[in-house]
């Protein structure tokens, strides 16, 4: 009997150990008893810079050795595949009127060299990546230390509200310094959003500097889905596309889609649209987390769950390209990537922002208190890094490499607009062209058209990459930010999410109950039987 007890304890211990690992490892990878799933789940991967260097072209100049003062180590954590790693072929050169742009070295390496040249200090970047905002947060909770991270807006709002973030220095906003590329080049439209939105009474812009942004929408296959059908979040519940549409496995994205669909009538009504306070009301409407709304969202999502192909983690892009699904909820940056991939196979997909409303999101740089620790040299290097990736040519490199849209409009530097022309502009002799106005992004004014910022593009581009990367003025007006959920909301919404994703026991058919009953009786019987046998065998 005792021996048995020990065995049970050992088995318990083994499982306990696995559970510990699942506690230690960040994010949603429950290694508890799955063991093999480690490589599938997103994890942090520290990429030493030396490794990034190997991918750059041979013959590049490397700074070596310290000759002035101490070296600075900058720990940066960014999204996976969210920065140019260099190594472009010569035919990938972006030949703009203001000069060629090509990514030879990785962005990190270029930064280290640039910093050394500009400030005469060696900086060493430790670059690591994260898979989801929640992963990042859990990593920070468990004690990982970074100086500079790039989470989405709701996560930096959460971190700012928890007082974990160092405000940007005054010098960072000094537009007279030619090396302050961020302040000189950030899009006035986005700058305003960052100044107008506050957390604890302080504007985002005091703490966060934007890196990339985008909107959510539907990527669809125009051969199977009409643009009209794709222009509503209800496509996810449309029985015509049963098991042919996917949505992200993300609470926030699903919540947004559900709220927008549920309030569709209100959001698309002319009286709501023409309200002078439209933007403000829209933001209130889509950020509705009242218990009643959460309940409605649960019902909506439960219905949707039976209709969608899957809640995809990372397979949506590939499934769209291979034609397994007809439409896919997507972030605009990934949508660009998906459309590019499909085009490589001569297969054209399109992107649309649903009529009701769309979620505008931002990934921004913030400096963490625990990493910087009040060290001015380090903070200076971190801010210099933000500025370096905001330099128009570097912003273009990153955009070209990852497909997302940079925060940078260039200010006086014409290269960003030149890049748009280079990328999307129609050939002079092409016929089906339209004028596409992006002046809101460059001037900050979404009411007036600035003829300097009107592109002439092939008509279909407005429905493809260009429309996703730089939404039209009309589309951008229908976007709203999504607030972060506080603890209470987070708990309520997560409970809703669990309810949506779990199997409701009330759906269990009668024979299922019979099997359970038989199983329970069998278990108890087995116990009794064993006990009896043992008794018999005892002398």
């Amino acid at each position: 009997m005792r021996q048995k007890f020990y065995k049970a304890v050992l088995a318990t211990g083994a499982l306990g150990m696995m559970s510990l690992f699942s506690l230690i490892l960040p994010g949603e990878n429950s290694l508890a008893a799955t063991g093999t799933s480690a490589e599938e789940v997103t994890q942090t991967a520290s990429i030493p810079v030396s490794e990034a260097v190997t991918s750059s072209q041979a013959g590049s100049v490397m700074t070596s050795g310290a000759d002035s003062g101490r070296d600075i180590t900058l720990r940066i954590c960014n999204w996976e595949e969210y920065m140019d790693e260099g190594g472009w072929d010569a035919d990938e050169t972006i030949d703009l009127p203001s000069g060629d742009i090509i990514g030879q070295n990785s962005m990190i390496e270029d930064f280290e060299n640039w910093y050394k040249e500009t400030y005469g200090v060696n900086v060493h970047v430790e670059y690591s990546t994260f898979g989801t905002n929640e992963d990042l947060y859990n990593m920070l909770t468990l004690g990982d230390t970074y100086d500079l991270i790039c989470p989405s807006e709701y996560m930096f709002m959460k971190l700012i509200s928890e007082d974990q973030v160092v405000p940007l220095s005054e010098h960072f906003f000094d537009a007279s310094d030619p090396d302050n590329f961020y302040t000189r080049g950030v899009s006035p439209y986005l700058r305003r959003i960052f100044e107008e939105h506050t957390i604890n009474g302080e504007p985002w812009s005091r703490y966060a500097a934007g890196y990339m942004w985008g909107v959510t929408g539907i990527v669809y296959n125009p051969e199977l889905v009409t643009r009209e059908q794709a222009s509503t979040w209800n496509i996810l519940k449309n029985p015509e596309f049963r098991k042919c549409v996917t949505i992200k496995d993300s609470v926030r994205d699903c919540y947004f889609a559900a709220v927008a669909a549920l309030k569709g009538e209100e959001l698309t009504s002319p009286s709501f649209r023409e309200d002078p306070e439209y933007k403000k009301r829209l933001e209130q409407a889509v950020n509705d987390t009242s218990p009643e709304m959460i309940r409605k969202v649960q019902d909506w999502l439960q219905g949707m769950k039976d209709n969608v192909y899957s809640f995809e983690v990372d397979s949506g892009k590939a499934d769209m390209v291979t034609g397994r699904v007809a439409a896919n909820y997507q972030w605009s940056g990934d949508a660009v990537y998906t459309m590019d991939q499909a085009e490589a196979d001569n297969y054209y997909l399109e992107f649309v922002e649903p009529e009701e409303a769309s979620n505008i999101y931002f990934d921004g740089w913030i400096m963490l208190k625990r990493g910087i620790q009040g060290d001015p040299a380090k903070q200076q290097a971190a801010e210099a890094f933000i500025n370096f990736v905001s330099r128009p040519d570097n912003a273009i490199r990153n955009m070209y490499y990852i497909g997302y849209t940079s925060f940078i409009s260039g200010g006086e530097d014409p290269r960003i607009f030149e890049y748009l022309k280079w990328n999307y502009g129609a050939d002079e002799d092409s016929k089906d062209t339209v004028d596409y106005d992006v002046s809101y992004f460059f001037t900050g004014n979404d009411d007036a058209v600035d003829p300097r910022y009107v592109l002439t593009v092939p008509e279909e581009q407005t429905r493809r990459q260009l429309g996703a990367q730089y939404p039209s003025t009309e589309d951008i007006r229908r976007t709203s930010i999504m607030q972060y959920f506080d603890d209470a909301q987070n708990q309520a919404i997560n409970r809703m999410w669990v309810n949506v994703r779990c199997y409701n026991i009330r759906h269990l058919p009668w024979w299922g109950w019979c099997v359970i009953a038989a199983g329970l009786v069998g278990t108890i019987y087995a116990f009794v039987l064993k006990y009896r046998i043992r008794k018999k065998m005892e002398p």
């Binding site: 048995k4 211990g13 499982l15 306990g16 949603e28 599938e40 929640e134 603890d487 779990c502």
Partner: protein, 261 residues
């Protein structure tokens, strides 16, 4: 200090303390507290009163149960044939079945996915079936090996004795081989059942949108709710405890060689 054999045990004691007992304590702490660190049973009450989470327990149980049954049905005849055949390179054949374990798991499932899509068309139409197929594919070697080991270690003279005493082959199989190979089956079952309840990556990759227990843990952690995740882990722990008590035999486990895996 004089060296004694007891000193050899110190590393294990440290290991046990660090990686078994302490994590268990942490697990218990989280499972029985709420966000502000107070003792609560609400995590468990919440789980057992919500038809959705309870349904997930039933659902993962069903997935695991069907997977285990299919695994046993596939593995036993195979192990039996292999063990009792006269093939000379037997271990090589066994190796062939174990080989997939050495290939990266996500690669295997991706390949399986393509095959299933080729057969079924739209995978999302048969989520449960696909999950069982995926799990079976993934865990089958864990079932084959222990059964094979226990059958091949069987004392052959017992079978001869049975036949001498007038049992035909069928009777000999059911009265001798099967009971004596049960420990192998049991250790196979214990290695398949619980992972099949929690390995949600297979689900995700094969487009099953319904959570199993493992996905629940992940979901709680993604919402920074460690208490919920620990609670689920503890429930799983309870299940494996019951299971161990049930399958564990008092006869000393020399035939349980299969557990070497």
């Amino acid at each position: 200090m004089r060296f004694s054999r007891k000193n050899l045990g110190i590393p294990y004691a440290v290991f046990l303390l660090l990686f078994v007992l302490m994590p268990l304590a942490v697990l218990f702490y989280y499972a029985f507290t709420n966000g502000s660190g107070q003792f609560t049973l609400m995590n468990f009450i919440g789980f057992f009163t919500n038809p959705n989470t309870l349904g997930t327990l039933v659902y993962s149980f069903a997935v695991a149960f069907v997977t285990t049954v299919v695994c046993v049905l596939l593995a036993y005849p195979l192990a039996y044939i292999l063990a009792s055949s006269k093939i000379r390179a037997k271990s090589a054949v066994v190796m062939l079945f174990v080989l997939p374990m050495w290939i990266n798991f996500s690669l295997r499932i991706t390949a399986l996915k393509e095959v299933l899509i080729f057969i079924e068309g739209n995978l999302a139409m048969y989520p449960f079936t696909n999950t069982v197929i995926g799990m079976t594919y993934d865990f089958l070697p864990f079932m084959i090996l222990p059964i094979y080991t226990s059958i091949s270690r069987l004392d052959h003279s017992l079978l001869e004795a049975a036949q001498d005493l007038g049992a035909n082959e069928r009777e000999a199989f059911f009265k001798v081989t099967l009971p004596l190979s049960m420990p192998g089956v049991m250790s196979g079952v214990s290695m398949v059942f619980l992972p099949a309840m929690t390995n949600y990556v297979v689900l995700d990759m094969l487009y099953n949108s319904t959570y199993i227990m493992g996905s629940l843990i992940g979901s709680y952690f993604a919402a920074y709710y460690w208490h919920g995740g620990s609670m689920i882990a503890l429930i799983l722990l309870l299940i494996i405890c019951i299971f161990t008590l049930l399958t564990d035999s008092d006869e000393t486990g020399d035939v349980r060689g299969g557990t070497i895996l």
